[in-house]
């Protein structure tokens, strides 16, 4: 019964204790093994099971893998070599098929002498992506761009690109490196132009086509500026109508006439020459580039408080997400022609890209909607209070932030879409996985080869997708860390 009772022994430590090492069973490899592999009966059993699985898989594949043949003309040749080297009945992988058909897997039937064009296009893709994807860290951006430059130029040179184009690529790439050191945002101009440039590089033909397409928005902008003084409404309508009219009525003739006056053409390559990874990447990139703006519009529409707009967006999104992509591809190949004015037919690749775009736009819209929802309401209010109107607020305040938050989701959507490009095999396009492998196997020399093409294609897909998913995880962490 004491308030200042005896137990309260005042205590002061005069010497601080130094840190000691933990007891032996708490440290080093012993502890690691005990904690991570054998921390209990269940875990011990699991560990043994895991070892067995690894052993089973490895022992079955090691033989086959270690007996790989890289140089042979045909499957029979391969088998002969394997039998000679490792004895009768030995099994082995025949990677020679990849070696022989490598070009076909990568470029499809693209003209050999023009291989440098897709290569350059692919290299420039990274420049276009730099301000969007790699804006987070100057270090990473520098590494990516320098690597791209070196690889692209080297590959182009080996593939026999004309000197003029080598110079062009070098200027763009090196220029990008220099610009990105100071003003990454300036590269956005290149990002916007890239799709049209890419189309021209890949398909070739007259440059006037893409230029005239580009002229549409420019004309629209001019109209908007000119009419802006008269009335905002008229200006907006004009900004929408002028490009449409231009594209539908004038662009075709204009580009033909311009081509007649100044020829700006490189050899044209038809769509049917696209195949392999070139096709997958083309469809994938085109799909993502076009689905992003569409996705943004859909996401804004779905969040709109206008009932009708919202309903339409919901119907569209839910419809697209409710049917398999393969059904939409069949729509592209079988039905799209029904829906267009009689007599219009266009390229199956283009049709597939349209469907893939619609498909991923629906998913993209959901991703972006998440990003929009994550923005605090205060941002909208502050924009309102400053007198920004809806579109300015969206463009200057909301979207830049929402899109940044959504980048990881966008990347995953892209990964999904890129994987799904293999489905184009069902509408008769030469995807790398099935059609290309079937084509390879249809030749007499490689008839009967099965695993190697699949493993090869799977491996490439894995590399690309895994790389992207890791990158997006890195971004996600980074955004979470300095989300300010």
């Amino acid at each position: 019964m004491s308030e200042t009772h005896a137990q309260t022994v005042p205590f002061v430590r005069d010497t601080m204790l130094p840190p000691a090492d933990p007891p032996i069973k708490e440290a080093g490899a012993v502890r690691w093994l005990r904690q991570n592999l054998f921390s209990g009966p269940l875990n011990t059993i699991l560990t043994i099971l895991g070892v067995l699985i690894v052993w089973f898989v490895a022992s079955h594949f090691w033989d086959w893998f270690s007996h790989s043949v890289w140089n042979a003309d045909s499957l029979a040749d391969c088998r002969r070599i394997i039998a000679e080297t490792w004895g009768e009945g030995a099994r082995g992988a025949c990677w020679a098929v990849i070696r022989e058909r490598w070009n076909q897997y990568v470029f499809g039937f693209y003209p050999v002498e023009l291989y440098w064009r897709p290569t350059m296009t692919f290299g420039l893709l990274f420049v276009a992506l730099a301000p969007v994807l790699f804006s987070e860290s100057a270090g990473i951006r520098r590494i990516v761009l320098v690597l791209t430059t070196v690889l692209t130029l080297w590959l182009m040179a080996t593939l026999g690109a004309p000197a003029a184009w080598l110079v062009f690529a070098a200027v763009v790439l090196v220029g990008a490196i220099l610009i990105s050191e100071r003003h990454v945002a300036w590269l956005l101009v290149f990002s916007v132009l890239y799709p049209l440039m890419g189309v021209w590089f890949l398909w070739g033909g007259s440059a006037w086509g893409p230029i005239m397409v580009l002229a549409g928005p420019v004309l629209g902008w001019i109209a908007w500026r000119l009419l802006g003084r008269v009335s905002a409404l008229v200006a907006t309508v004009a900004a929408l109508v002028v490009p449409l009219v231009w594209w539908i009525v004038f662009a075709g003739d204009a580009s033909r006439d311009a081509q007649g006056i100044v020829s700006l053409a490189i050899p044209a390559v038809d769509s049917d020459r696209f195949g392999g990874f070139l096709l997958s990447i083309t469809i994938g990139v085109a799909g993502i580039v076009m689905s992003l703006p569409l996705g943004i519009v859909l996401a804004l529409a779905r969040r709109s408080d206008m009932f009708l707009v919202k309903t339409l967006a919901v119907i569209f999104i839910e419809f697209i997400r409710g049917v398999p992509l393969i059904a939409l591809l069949f729509v592209a190949s079988l039905l799209l022609n029904y829906f267009l004015p009689p007599g219009t037919t266009f390229d199956i690749i283009l049709r597939v890209i349209i469907m893939v775009t619609l498909f991923s736009a629906a998913y993209m819209a959901e991703v972006i909607r998440g990003g929009l929802a994550a923005l605090p309401k205060g941002q909208y209010e502050a924009a309102d209070a400053l007198g920004l109107d809806y579109w300015k607020a969206q463009r200057l305040i909301v979207l830049p932030q929402a899109l940044k938050i959504s980048i990881p989701g966008i990347v995953s959507t892209f990964i999904g879409m890129f994987k799904d490009t293999t489905l184009v095999t069902f509408v008769g396009l030469y995807d790398p996985l099935k059609s290309m492998s079937d084509a390879v196997r249809a030749s007499t020399s490689w008839k009967g080869i099965y695993w190697e093409p699949y493993i090869f294609v799977g491996f490439i897909f894995f590399l690309i997708c895994f790389g992207m998913s890791r990158y997006s995880m890195y971004l996600e962490r980074r955004l979470a860390r300095d989300h300010r």
């Binding site: 921390s39 699991l46 409710g322 079988l334 095999t425 897909f461």
Partner: protein
């Protein structure tokens, strides 16, 4: 001007949008009509009642080539549902195991599961389907390898199952006291025994719930929860065992006759491969969802439960799972949706789902691409809507209450 008034501005805008959408719709329909006219075709679902003329390898309901396209489509739909439902169940099991194993403190298991998840998530599903299918056709023996006195291959599970490169032959069930079948018309029948089993199982499940409720009441009253697992086990199993005995239910193992195994049920490899590939692929995604769900329940929750003296098992049941499920279920359902849609890749392995029948052979034989594809998309849409409605109802019911 109306456009300057907040109230009418959005109305005006909506009217414009509406007009544009209507114009677009009209344009599409008009084009279609004109195209159909130009091709001399019409828009008519009459072909569904014509003779199909082709065979389907795996039919859950009786079907011959003399049946109509409609029935073929229905068989396809059932096949879609079969592989989807089996896939969802298996993928959930695989996903939960892999997801929990990835969080295991066993280093090896966690790594193995990471390899599994990444391998399946980053490679196209189509490739997995083809590879699994290839494993079946290339690695499994053909049926005639089971022939002879010294066969090259032998059946597994006490001569009840044969894995061949065409199908997996499994036993069928037969009854000595066959109670006959309930005929629903259109040659769709249900054996009374099946119905009896379903009834008994459902009843058993209800009784089990009642036992649980009773246990809860006892616990509420006395604080002590009676042991009920043996009762639950009893009501779930004993009636079924009785029925088995009563109907004389037994298995007829498959036997090799002629070219193939007969007597049993031959599950086509297309189905097995598709099912396996879908399971493993979706399982990898579900594993991530489960992992994220468990991680989403903060450590503080389990610590709080431990500090209150709850044991780990109880903590899992009462605290972690109820919260994790809220996080897990919505993306899980959308994986179910994806799986159902992905089952349309059946086309790659010749499994005749609705894409293979209605959207494949029927479309081809009749040339009715517009009708077939619209109908097929409609079916998928209805399936998705059913699944996502279920999801929304669930979400609404478990949403955490916030301030």
């Amino acid at each position: 001007m109306l456009i300057h008034d907040r109230r009418y501005r959005s109305m005006t805008f909506q009217v414009i949008v509406f007009i544009l959408v209507m114009a677009l719709a009209w344009w599409l329909v008009n084009n279609t009509v004109r195209n159909l006219a130009a091709m001399g075709k019409d828009f008519d679902f009459g072909f569904l009642w014509q003779r199909a003329g082709y065979d389907i390898p795996q039919t859950p309901i009786p079907y011959t080539s003399d049946d109509t396209h409609l029935r073929a489509a229905f068989v396809g739909l059932l096949n879609t549902l079969i592989v989807s439902i089996l896939g969802c169940i298996a993928a959930t099991v695989v996903g939960i195991i892999a997801g929990v194993a990835r969080l295991s403190n066993n280093w090896l298991i966690a790594r193995l599961m990471t390899v599994y998840v990444e391998a399946f998530r980053n490679v196209p599903l189509l490739l997995w389907i083809l590879i699994v299918f290839a494993i079946f056709t290339e690695v499994m023996p053909p049926p005639n390898a089971f022939r002879g006195d010294d066969p090259a291959a032998s059946m597994i599970l006490f001569d009840h199952v044969a894995l061949t490169n065409r199908y997996t032959a499994i036993p069928t069930l037969a009854m000595t006291n066959d109670p006959g079948s309930l005929d629903l018309g259109a040659r769709i029948t249900f054996n009374w025994a099946t119905i009896a089993f379903v009834v008994v199982l459902v009843a058993g499940w209800i009784v089990r719930r009642m036992i649980a409720a009773w246990a809860q009441r006892v616990q509420d009253r006395t604080g002590v929860r009676p042991t009920t697992w043996w009762m639950s086990l009893g009501v779930m199993t004993v009636p079924s065992l009785l029925l088995i005995w009563y109907f004389g239910l037994h298995m007829i193992p498959p036997q090799l006759r002629g070219f193939n195994f007969t007597g049993g049920l031959n599950v086509q490899n297309g189905l097995v491969a598709l099912w396996l590939a879908l399971t493993l692929y979706t399982g990898a995604f579900i594993a991530e969802i489960v992992r994220a769900g468990i991680l989403a329940v903060s450590r503080g929750q389990s610590e709080a439960a431990f500090a209150l003296g709850l044991r780990p098992g109880r903590t899992m049941n009462l605290v972690i799972l109820p919260q994790a499920l809220r996080v897990i279920i919505p993306p899980l359902i959308s994986q179910y949706l994806n799986l159902t849609k992905n089952s349309s890749l059946a086309i790659a392995v010749g499994y005749m789902d609705i894409k293979g029948t209605l959207g494949g052979t029927t479309l081809n034989q009749t040339g009715r691409e517009l009708e077939s594809i619209l109908l097929m998309m409609g079916v998928y849409l209805v399936l998705s809507l059913i699944i996502s409605t279920g999801m929304n109802i669930f979400n609404a019911s478990v949403k955490l209450k916030e301030r």
